[in-house]
Each structure stands twice: as C-alpha cells, then as structure tokens.
C-alpha cells in the first residue's frame, strides 16, 4: 500500500557543514544578520509502497552517508533538538527535482525494478534549523533571498515547534480541452486578446492571422478535418510562437528608414541581417571560393554555424543569450541557458557533435548597488551569484570545460542581466558517407522526442522574452535544468548519430515542439503530431501546453521506420526516453492532434512566411560627449591600484576556479596561467585530440560603454578585441593574398539591445536606439570584410528592458562577438605572462588620446573623451606582421591591451610570475598624436591609460630581439625589460610614474567579487 514517509539526513555534528557556513556569511553580508546555531537537514518525502525493512535500507544505505551522516526515519535525526526556528525549502509542484529523482533511482535499484521517472515517488527538500528565535519577516527574507526563489521554491517557516513534514501536493487533474478563440472581432479587441494570452503579436500581425482564418479555402479544409472555423487555442499559440521576435527576428528583418543627421543622408535598409550580416559573410565566402579554399560549410540556417577543420572534421559554434529567465531566476536561467545552448551544436545537421568547450560572458548591475529595488527586481548581487552557480552546474556536470569568458558591470544591467552562453563542438564530416552537417527528411520519416519529460515549465518562454520584463512576467517561464538528464541524452545521441540511426536532430528550446517541428516540417513538406504519445511529467496538461512546453533537455530526432527499432533499443541501454510522436508528410500542413482530436492544422507557408514585414524608423545624431576629467595631480601608482580593484578589471579567479576549465584534458590556454596560476589570458586554446596538435582558439569581445559615445565604435572595438585576443595567442588571420592557405575563422554576433521601436509615449528615443543598432551592424560588416572573419551564426535579443513602478531600466545596446579560429599547432601558442628576467618588453600598435568610456575616465565619473576607433588599415598590417613573428617563435609572451590600457596590462603580465618589469613609456607618450610640448602630461596619461584598440604588449628573449626589431620596424616600441625583482616600475623619460611591488598590485586586483 502506498504510504507517506520522511527520511531526514544531517551531517555528524563534529563535521563542518559548508552549506551552513556559506549561509552564515551571506546572512551577515547581505542581511546584517549574525546567525548562531545553524543546522541543515536533507529531507526526502517518500510516497511509495514500501515495507519497514525496505524503508530502513533506503534510508540507511541508499540516501545517507554511513560514515558522515545521521539519519532519521519519520523523525529528525539525533541532535536536531534545541533549535528555535526553521525554514523548509521545497520545490514548487512540477519543478525539476533532480535530488528527488536520483533518490527514486536508488529506490528502484534497491527494489530491483527498472527506473521510471513518473509518477514522482520521492521529493527532496532542505530544512534549515536556527538556534535564534527569528521572526517571520526575517525567516521569509532568508528563505526567499538566500535559500531559494519563490518562482521555483515553496517555503514553510516559523517557530521550530510548528515544524511539520512536507506533504506533496496532489497532482493536477483535468480532462484535455481544445478551446476555440473568437477572432472575428474588432481591432481593439484583437490587441486585448494578444495581451491577455501573452501572444506578443501586434495589430498588423493579429490581422494577418484573422485574414488567414477567414480564407474560404482554409475554412473548407478545416471543416473537412473537423476543426472549428475560428482558431483553436493551440493554433493561436503556435502562430504566436513562430512569429515571436525571439524566433522570427522581425526587427532584424524589418525595412528600416535610416536618417543620418551627421551626414544628412537618408536610406532604406532592407533587413539588417541581410544587408550587413549575411552580405559580409557571403562576400568572404566568395573570396574563399575564388581561392579554392572555402572552409565555410553551413552558415545561418541551422542551430549552429559549421566550418571545416580538415577532411574528417567540422567545427560547430553557437552563442545564445538567456537574459529574461536569468532576471527572474538567475540560477535556473543560467543553467538552462548553458544546457540549452549545448543542444544547438548537438542538434546541428544530423546531430551528435562532440561538445568541446563553453564560453560565458555576463553583464550585471553593480554587486554593491545601494539603489532601491523595483518590484520584481532582484539585487544584482543575487543575480550574479545565481547565474554563476547555474553556469558552474550546467557546465561542470555536462563535462564541458569553460575556457573563456568575461564579466562586465554597469548599472543599466540591473534590470535585465545579459547571460551569453557559447558552445563549440566537433562534428564528423560524414556518417557512413552521408554529410553530417545536412538535415535530410522525407515524408514518412518518424518524429522521435528524446530526453526529459514534458511538463508545464517554460510555457510562453519565446513570446515572453520578446516582451519587456515587469512584475507580472509569467512564473511558468522559469525552468530549472537537469544536467544529468541532458548528459545522458547527449551520450546517447552521439552514439545514435554515429551509427547512422538518426537522419537529423534539433533542439527543443524556446517554443518547444511547436518550434522544433515547425522548423523541421518544411524540409519534408509537412508533419503530423500525436500529442497523446508525448511522455508527461504529470497529468493535467492541455494539448496546446504539451505542444508549446519548453521543458528542458529534450531533442527532436528524425528516424526512418527501419531505423526506429534499433534507435529504441539503444535509447533503452542509455536509459533515455525516446518516443515516436508523429510522422513527416508532404501535405504542406502542420497537423497536430491529441488522441484523435484535432488541435491544429496550419499551412506551413502561412506559418513561416505569413508574418507582415515590420517598418521601423532610425535616426542617428552623435551624442554630445562631455570632455575628459581634469587629472592634474594624480598619483599614478594609486590610480593603477584603483583600476586593478575596479569591478570591471579585478580578478575573476574566485569565479573562474568554480568552473571546470580543463575537463576533457585538452585545454592548452586556460583563463589563468603561469607559475602562480594568476595571470589572466586573452584567448582560450584547446587541442582537438590527444595525439593531434591541432586546436581551436576562442575569444570574446564586447565594449558596451563605448556605445554611449558612438555605437559604431562600440561594435568595432568589440570585434577587434575578440580578433586581437586570438592574434595575441598566435592565431593566424586569413591574409588577402594567402586565402588559399588560410584556416577557418568564424564569429557569432549576439546583439542585446533595449526596445528600439519608436513610440511617442513609451519609447521616445526609439529612433536613436535603432540607429545605434544600425551603426553597430555597419561596423560588423565593415570589420568582417576587412578582417576576413565571417559571421557563421548569431542571435539577437531585442527587448532588454525592465519596467516597474513607472520606471524603466534598459541595457545599453550591447553586441558580443565570440570568435573562434583554427590553431594549426597549439605548441606554438603563447600565453600572456612574462617568462624570465631580462626579456625585452615591447608595445605593438599605435596609442592615441582615446579615453572615451575608458576605465580611467570612469574612475572620475565621466564617460567623456574621444571614443576609441578601430582603424583596420593600421591594425591589419600590424596583425599580419605580428602573426609572422609568432610563426618565427620570437614572441615569448603576449597580452592584448584592453580595460585600463598599458598600465593595467603591464601589471597583469607580471601576476604570479615572481618577476617584475622596468618600463619607460616616454617613447609611447611621444608617439601620441596632438599638441606640443605643453601637452606632455596628457600624452603621458594616454601612454599609461588610454584604451586605443589593436595593441599588444609582448616580451622577447634577448637572442630574438634583433631579428624581432628588424622585422617589426616601427610597429614595435621597445619600452623596457623584465626584471628578477618582483616590482613594477613605469617611468617616462626617466621620470617615475608608477612604482611598487607586484604583490601589492596583486592584492589590489585580488578582491573577491562575491561572498
């Protein structure tokens, strides 16, 4: 008989409890609360038919640690008395409960029965006991701010005497219903309908839907199929999802009327995507083709871009954002971001790529912010902490190393953080002679849903991320990932694809089945889906919810009827659920039914091409920039320390070390290197095999603040940064006259911008914001063409605004470039830190009086000064020369100059080396343009702290110096040498500017960003 029991485990009292120690630290730092006695108990609620012996065995052998823990069955373990208050943290019904499911696995192993994930029999919860008699308000804050999130957790708290065991809620019931929605209504009512159902469709789009359902041909066909004349709830949801900004990129494909007030020119841009992104890539493809060496294999039209490594291998690379979910539940948003992005390379072509690395670029509000929070807004510190943990668990538990990334701070990210997740993978060139990058489907092929089960989670994710956030944002958009479910799925998929059992694979992400089937169906010419076959986490889902659910860790596979039995057998071995849920057809329709009852019948042409084109207005006028701050009497050593301790520059070690950056055993350049493991690096480098020296370098560039002065410069600086970081480690750009011998480079562009659609009331500066986006795209195209670095994939996120209490927090328009390049021999790469005393130190690249939006300028609170400009005509000759110097092996260390300029770079290359530097920047100051002798202080300042792009600081061994200097000519300024004494000395023409022990600089830099 099924009965309810509780198993409670706690650490032996003599052992430290790290979880409690962490809570104590956070409670003190965040809530000013000093907790005395504190205890954590893991609670498992078991709802199953077990006898006493089985229950005892489950508790003592299965769920508790015989050496380190105490266990109680239907009572708290010994030593849990004497506490005054408690908080119990459980999962909301339907939320992923991996601990509960793993306990259930152990139970089934113990009973000797095959594992079944549903119905859920074991539920996990965490109980915290406090010696202090805390009041309800304090307990609530601890629960909701430090121990969980009301969007995913349920809480009980109060005096210890009131503690009661949790009882799982009854499963929701309800017969499946297909609702009909009246669409033959007035225009205002259409607007209201779109809002009420979270469709995120504007009036023109709603009218297009209305017109479709009024079409007599459509009506006749619907009657024949037993569908009502008006759309079903499912049909409206499918159209809304397919037409969502998230899936359709309507703004990137809009017609834009662009007025440039600076030049007086007006033009119509027919799609930003086509005009700038695709056109530049296509031009590079043509040049490569002409040189007989087109390493571009598949761009823009699959889940990830594909380039060629060699005859047998392809590289797939995709970067996504997960901003809105991370704003609501930072942990869940980030973990599903990383796992979801992993599924893109896995679901490219036929599928089954082997994941190689992850990258993470994060933008947050200031962790020390004292701004009052708006309703529904989480403190940036909580967002940071949750996102960091999500990336740790998502990446580490998947066994994918995080080899590169960045963290940026700005108060404008306090409403919506930006969470960019990137993944690279290796795909075989072919499976049994069939190209692995191609998706091939024929009518009659089966639709197989593999991986996790389907629940209500994430319904409306695609449409909701196309809206700004406010306090009414739907809870159901929040999901928690299950890395173990996905790991088991990806292990299975790799083998299934290699054995030729899968014709193609795609990710079920935003929009769920509606999106994945919608994208695959046109390849065959139609599809029919039988929703009753979809395995559910729990009953009670309506048919449309099953089709739209964004439950994680699911992929849609295509298999022939003949391959299906072998695929099913393999899935069983890997303990992955793989269920046939439909079949591809050639009807031109998407047909969805539930137990024989039709839910949807939509023309694929209408679904994919029926959305009306948007027309938008953009107007560019250069913003007035404040002048540079006065810097008359500065102590430069102090300035350098302040820069090193600033949020944007300080050490990321505490974050980086919590990410596994070397699982797979092939990472050659990790984020921190050198004898002390402290020196920050430029690009990450990873080998492809254990007996193969070929590898891939990856780097990220972003410069959002430069956009306050000039959006074009912001995009150009970001692009240049990503490319130069790869050049810095020894990457070899394609040179125009040597394209035939070039190896691949590929970039992902990820635009995250605020609402850029003009609205007199809600978005009065929308035209300027859109103009910023236009200029960012122009820079993308110009730089891509000049550098021969094509975009192969990307994603835009258009509504990064948070609105509450009459206020709006909008992100600065931000573009991230994630660039990857082939490295022919990883042994020839170079790390950033200096290697030995007596090496020459050189500055490569031109320094200008470019302080706009610099870290230095920000110390003084003003973004003013000239925006740094990328000059490809200067940068490329330098890069090509530097590349040759790398090939010759003359460069012993190389670090690119970025935030904080030369002074910060000089400090960073000494960290952890036990060495020092003696540098004179007089020659650099003299080379800075402008003014006469009277401007000498300004030029010295520029030499130290200006942030001109396209520069490196390198070290060269004495025996290579002469040849290096000959080769580089005026491109390299010799500025000093490394020293055995670990001090940093910077002078200008003999005049000391900066001086101090490297250890002091390390201390300033080493502040901990998070508790």
């Amino acid at each position: 008989m099924i009965s309810l029991h509780h198993i409670a485990c706690t650490w032996n009292p003599e052992l430290p409890d790290a979880r409690c120690a962490s809570l104590r630290r956070r409670a003190e730092r965040h809530l000013g609360l000093r907790l005395k006695g504190l205890k954590h108990v893991s609670v498992y609620t078991v709802r199953a038919a077990l006898d006493a012996a089985q229950l005892a065995r489950l508790a003592r052998e299965g769920l508790s640690d015989a050496v380190a823990q105490r266990v109680g069955i239907d009572r708290l373990p010994d030593g849990c008395d004497g506490f005054a208050s408690f908080v119990l943290v459980g999962k909301l019904p339907g939320t992923t409960d991996d601990e509960g499911l793993s306990a259930q696995r152990t139970l089934h192993d113990l009973l000797g029965v095959p594992f079944a994930p549903a119905p859920q029999e074991i539920f996990s919860a965490d109980l915290y006991l406090f010696a202090d008699a805390l009041d309800a308000a304090t307990l609530r804050r601890l629960a909701e701010e430090e121990l969980g999130n009301p969007l995913v957790n349920q809480f009980a708290f109060g005096p210890f005497a009131d503690f009661a065991w949790p009882v799982p809620e009854a499963e929701p019931e309800g017969a499946p219903v297909v609702e009909t929605v009246a669409l033959d209504i007035a225009d205002e009512a259409l607007d209201a309908l779109s809002r009420a159902r979270l469709l995120s469709l504007d009036r023109a789009e709603m009218k297009a839907v209305q017109a479709y359902f009024r079409d007599p041909q459509v009506q006749a066909r619907r009657r024949a199929a037993g569908l009502p004349a008006e759309p079903t709830d499912g049909e409206l949801e499918i159209v809304a999802q397919t037409w969502s900004e998230h899936c359709k990129h309507k703004e990137f494909n809009a017609l834009i009327h662009f007025t440039d007030r600076e030049t007086g020119r007006e033009e119509t841009i027919d799609s930003l995507f086509k005009t700038y992104i695709r056109a530049s890539t296509e031009e590079i493809a043509r040049r490569l083709e002409a040189a007989g060496n087109n390493w571009l294999v598949k761009v823009f039209n699959d889940n990830a871009g594909v380039v060629r490594v060699d005859r047998d291998r392809l590289f797939v690379f995709k970067v996504e954002t997960h901003n809105s979910p991370s704003a609501l539940d930072p942990f869940g948003g980030a973990i599903t971001g990383i796992l979801g992005n992993n599924r893109d390379p896995l679901g490219t072509g036929r599928g089954g790529a082997t994941l190689l690395f992850n990258t993470d670029v994060l933008c947050f509000g200031s962790p020390d912010s004292t701004e009052p929070l708006l309703p529904g807004q989480l403190h940036p510190r909580r967002v940071f902490a949750g996102v960091r943990q999500g990336i740790e668990e998502g990446g580490n538990k998947s066994g994918v190393p995080t080899i590169n990334g960045a963290i940026a701070f700005d108060p404008r990210y306090a409403g919506k953080p930006l969470v960019y997740c990137g993944t690279g993978g290796i795909l075989a060139d072919n499976y049994g002679g069939k190209p692995a990058w191609e998706k091939e489907i024929a009518p009659g092929d089966l639709v197989v849903l593999a991986g996790g089960r389907t629940g209500k989670d994430g319904i409306h994710g695609a449409t909701f991320s196309s809206l700004g956030l406010d306090k009414h944002s739907p809870r159901s958009a929040v999901q928690i990932g299950s890395p173990i479910t996905q790991k088991m799925l990806s292990d299975f998929l790799e083998v299934a694809c290699r054995r030729g059992l899968v014709k193609c694979a795609t990710d079920d992400g935003a929009g769920g089945l509606s999106s994945s089937i919608g994208e695959l169906a046109p390849l065959a010419g139609g599809a029919e889906i039988w929703l009753e076959k979809v395995p559910l986490k729990y009953p009670g889902l309506q048919p449309w919810e099953i089709f739209l659910s964004e439950s994680q860790e699911r992929m849609t596979l295509v298999a022939t009827e003949e391959a299906a039995p072998a695929l099913a057998k393999l899935a069983q071995l890997y303990e992955v659920e793989a269920t046939i849920i439909g079949r591809f057809t050639d009807t031109g329709l998407l047909e969805v039914s539930h137990a024989g009852r039709p839910l949807a019948q939509l023309d694929l042409d209408f679904l994919h091409d029926g959305v009306p084109r948007k027309r938008l207005e953009a107007e560019w006028a250069r913003p007035a920039a404040p002048g540079p701050a006065s810097t008359e009497t500065l102590d430069f050593t102090d300035v350098l320390k302040r820069l090193l301790a600033s949020d944007d520059i300080c050490s990321r070690e505490a974050v980086i070390r919590q990410y596994d950056h070397e699982v797979k055993g092939r990472t050659v350049i990790k984020p921190l290197m050198g004898p002390g493991g402290l020196a920050p690096q430029d690009a990450g480098v990873i080998r492809l095999g254990f007996d193969d020296w070929r590898g891939i370098a990856v780097a990220c560039g972003l410069a959002p603040r430069v956009g306050d002065l000039d959006a074009y410069a912001s995009s150009a600086c970001a692009f240049d940064e990503a490319v130069r970081q790869i050049v810095s480690v020894g990457g070899q750009l394609p040179e125009p006259d040597k394209l035939g011998a070039s190896t691949f480079w590929c970039a992902n562009d990820n635009f995250c911008v605020p609402d850029s659609v003009y609205d007199a009331e809600n978005n009065p500066d929308g035209r300027y914001k859109l103009a910023q986006l236009v200029r960012m795209c122009q820079a993308l195209a110009d730089l891509a063409r000049a550098y021969h670095v094509p975009m192969t994939s990307g994603k835009d996120s258009m509504k990064n605004d948070f609105r509450a209490a009459g206020k709006k927090i909008s992100v600065p328009p931000t573009v991230l470039y994630s660039v990857a390049a082939a490295i022919p021999d990883v042994r020839k790469t170079v790390t950033s830190e200096i290697k030995e005393a007596g090496d020459g130190i050189y500055l490569l690249g031109r320094t200008r009086d470019e302080f706009g939006a610099s870290s230095f300028q920000r110390l003084f609170g003003a973004p003013g000064g000239r925006a740094p400009a990328v000059r490809p005509e200067e940068a490329l000759p330098l890069y090509y020369r530097t590349m040759a110097a790398h090939r010759a092996g003359w460069i012993r260390s190389s670090h690119d100059l970025s935030d904080g300029g030369l002074a910060v770079a000089l400090a960073e290359i000494a960290f952890g080396t036990g060495l020092g530097l003696d540098v004179d920047v007089g020659s650099v100051a003299a080379s800075v343009e402008g003014g006469g002798a009277s401007d000498a202080p300004r030029r010295r300042l520029a030499a130290l702290f200006a942030e001109s792009p396209s520069r490196f600081v390198v070290s060269v061994k004495p025996e290579h110096r002469a040849r290096f200097e000959d080769w580089m000519g005026g491109q390299a300024l010799r500025i000093g040498a490394t020293t055995a004494e670990p001090r940093l000395r910077i002078s200008a023409e003999g005049r000391r500017l900066v001086g101090g022990p490297v250890a002091e600089l390390e201390r300033a830099w080493g502040k901990e960003l998070l508790a």
């Binding site: 790290a18 380190a68 113990l110 070390r657 055993g665």
Partner: protein, 274 residues
C-alpha cells in the same frame, strides 16, 4: 606479448572517460570505453581486463552526495546470475586485477566500500565530503607520494603536480581504528604538499581540508587506488598552467607527469604476467 587491457566505464554523468582511455593508450595499453549498463546487462564482463577504471564526472549529478547514487547501483543492482557489481569487482581483484577511481570514481569506490577496505568486508569506512571552502574548485596542486608505494601506479613517484576539480574531496575517517590502519599500513597513497614539498595543512595547498592531507587511498593489497587529483588531466606538458617555462626546463620533453602513473601500471602488469 598480450596487451594490457583497461576497461573504462562511462554513462550516467561520468565525463572523463576519453582522457582516461587516452592515458592508457598513450602508455601502450588497450582501452575500451564501456557504458555502465553494458556491464550490468552482461554484454561486457571484466574478464580479460587488467584494470577497471571509474573516471571522473558527476554520476547522477552527485545528487545524493558525490558518487553515492552510482555506488548504490553497484551494491543493489544484480546481474543475471544474481551477483552484484561489487561481487564482480571482488572477483576481479581476487583474480589479480586492478581498480582505479579518479575524483568521482574515487568517491564511488569509497562509498561502495572498496576503499580503504581495511576490514576486508566492503563496509564504508571513510567518506569524501564537501570541501572546507564549500566550493567546487579547479586548481593545480602538488601531491607527495608515499614510498615504497603499495599501488604500482605510484611506483617511484616523489612529487606530482596535478589538478583537482571537485566540490567533495575532504576525506573524513570513521574512527580511530581505521585512521590508525590507514597510517600504519601506508594506505594514504598521496598527500597534498606545498611548493617546498612539506605536507600541506592550509588552503589552498590543501584544497579541501582532507584528514591527513590525504589526496589518494589504496586498499591494503595495493590493487585498488582512488585519488581526487586527475592524473589523466596531465598527460601532456601543455596541460600545465606553466607549460611554457616547464617545456624549456624539460628540454623539449612534452610528457605530462600524470602519464607516469599509467606507464607505471602498464609496466607492472607486463612484468608480472605469468
């Protein structure tokens, strides 16, 4: 001469199987990567394998404590003949085989009772719990090897640089008797040490707060070795964060220090073949 053969388990969240298999191949052995369920279903057996390997990873997400859910599987699940996987391993050891567990593999061996197994009855005698820092950390550390080594993996090794990448690596010992047995019988095979080679007592040289600064355990026969640091993550000098300088000091030798463990065991098995 018959090849040395290693079976490397995978599946259920294990994720270091490729580098562990590569370690054996680079050391001249054959390595097969086998899904846990193939072993459980009886389609693959331990017969013919010299070394059974439990790689690192996050088996079942470490949801019940690191390695616990997979350890439960080894004790609870039965093959067709009625024997548990633990029985299979006991037979493998009795037949002269070896077992290696790294990181999550070590945690599994400990929770299955295979290490240190002082009592010889596969009772759990120690545990690996959350690091004192409370954090997962990826950092390079130095380990000092007890010599003469009970485990052939560690023959002749003095000090090793290896990365640790774990959240639950703090060794705790059940009672004084087990502690004494570990000490007296030399079962603490590796101990974290500092740059000067002294046993580490403080973070970060001691990354997790383990008792006896212990980084690895063997059983009294030396046939089972479990370790938190990852030898398979240092097969090439280019794995080391300071490879640029180490390469110069090594005069061009590109081998990583972790590879020595695998060269050792392969050599030992070859020399002791009947």
């Amino acid at each position: 001469m018959k090849a040395v053969r290693a079976l490397v388990l995978t599946g259920f969240g294990i994720n270091c199987q490729d580098e562990l298999a590569a370690a054996y191949r680079l050391a001249g052995a054959e390595a097969d990567i086998v899904h846990f369920n193939e072993w459980l279903a009886g389609t693959v057996s331990l017969r013919g394998y010299d070394v059974l390997n439990f790689p690192g990873g996050f088996s079942f997400g470490d949801d019940l404590g690191a390695g616990k859910a997979l350890a439960n599987k080894m004790r609870f699940c039965r093959l067709a003949g009625g024997r548990t996987l633990l029985d299979e391993i006991a037979a493998h050891l009795a037949g002269g085989g070896f077992v290696l567990g790294v990181c999550n593999g070590f945690q599994i061996l400990v929770k299955t009772g295979l290490l240190p197994n002082v009592g010889g009855n596969f009772d759990q005698e120690v545990s690996l719990i959350v690091n004192d820092s409370g954090k997962f950390e990826d950092r390079w550390c130095r380990c000092w090897a007890e010599q003469p080594a009970l485990s052939p993996f560690l023959n002749g090794i003095d000090v090793l640089a290896l990365p640790v990448r774990h959240k639950e690596g703090k060794l705790v010992i059940r009672d004084a008797a087990i502690r004494a047995a570990i000490r007296e019988r030399g079962l603490c095979a590796l101990r974290y040490c500092d740059a000067a080679g002294q046993i580490a007592t403080d973070y970060p040289a001691l990354p997790n707060g383990a008792e006896m600064s212990c980084a690895a355990l063997t059983d009294p026969t030396g046939r089972v070795l479990g370790m938190m640091p990852h030898p398979e993550a240092f097969l090439s000098i280019y794995n080391h964060p300071d490879w640029a300088r180490r390469r110069e000091a090594a005069g061009g030798n590109e081998e990583g220090e972790g590879l020595r463990l695998f060269l050792n065991v392969v050599d030992h098995i070859r020399r002791n073949r009947p």
